[in-house]
Symmetry: C2
Subunit: 183 residues, 2 copies
């Protein structure tokens, strides 16, 4: 079964409350994501830990019921932290970071490395016969191989797509919208 | 068959001639590498392409018969170049970059992404029955999977070790000296 890849670079989800601590203006869409209703916002933040900073980190909207910072292992080494590999929204054991804007800054225990996952509706799951909780993905090419523990994330109105972080994409020489194979 | 991992971060090999263009002092060992005779040098350079720079990039000694810059795909995106995935020393199709020190700068067509490879002697190859040209590596864990096209690099006086770049290591949550499985 083929699937298209969406690459998640580091990004931040905010609660309404945290958003309003960091920004005066309402969240504004810059460009839509493939997942219906989700968008990259005009708003960005700076992430900071012990004096090390990453600037221009995109907010993904709309705001959520939890504040979460999704980074790669490469970013984690830069910050010298060890976030867990987790489902979005599961902040158990997550690392602390400071989120800064011109207006203010907040420190939250909110950093995870997102696990590899497939967005899919219940209907597509049945249609494509993807009824297990996780699958493996085969990638061709000189830097190819197999990505294990790719979690099925079923939700209504999902766009059928494999989400990988930038480390996985770069290690396997995968580009946005490449097609790979579920095995 | 188990094998220990050595992670190669971005580094530079220089010819004697290029070294002498960039430095006045002789190359000096900072710390030995596992491969006999090889060492991380005290000397570092800055890599530059169209105004984008990476500083403190380590020279690996001793100097060689070719000048070569080994970076990750992550670095390649930063520089906006597309180097080929290659054996060390095979500079066919490699990308151009400027190598800078306080003394001077040189521009060379020398950038590759090193392929995944195993250093091994002829004797160990026979002992461990690793007679094919390439193998696959199995990595356990939530970010595990299989790395394909791991090339066997046979040479006398080799230390038996799997070399991966920082993208592969970070994608798979592999650390220096971790043990993985050849399949």
């Amino acid at each position: 079964m083929k699937i298209k890849v969406g690459i998640s670079v580091r990004h931040v989800h905010l609660t309404e409350e945290d958003y309003n601590l960091l920004f005066d203006e309402p969240i504004q869409e810059k460009s839509p994501l493939n997942q219906p209703g989700q968008f990259a916002a005009e708003q960005t933040v700076t992430l900071e830990k012990d004096g090390r900073e990453l600037k221009n980190v995109r907010i993904i909207g709309p705001n959520r019921t939890y504040t979460q910072v999704e980074i790669s292992r490469t970013d984690a080494y830069y910050f010298k932290i060890n976030p867990p590999v987790r489902d979005s929204g599961d902040l158990e054991g997550s690392e602390e970071i400071t989120i800064k804007t011109d207006k203010s800054s907040i420190t939250r225990k909110a950093v995870i490395i997102a696990n590899r996952h497939i967005h899919i509706t219940k209907e597509d799951r049945e249609k494509y016969n993807l009824l297990k909780d996780e699958y493996e993905i085969k990638v061709p090419g000189e830097k190819g191989g197999v990505l294990s523990h790719v979690h099925i994330k079923e939700a209504p109105n999902s766009y059928y797509e494999l989400h990988l972080d930038s480390d996985d994409a770069n290690a396997f020489s995968i580009k946005q919208d490449d097609e790979v194979e579920i095995i």
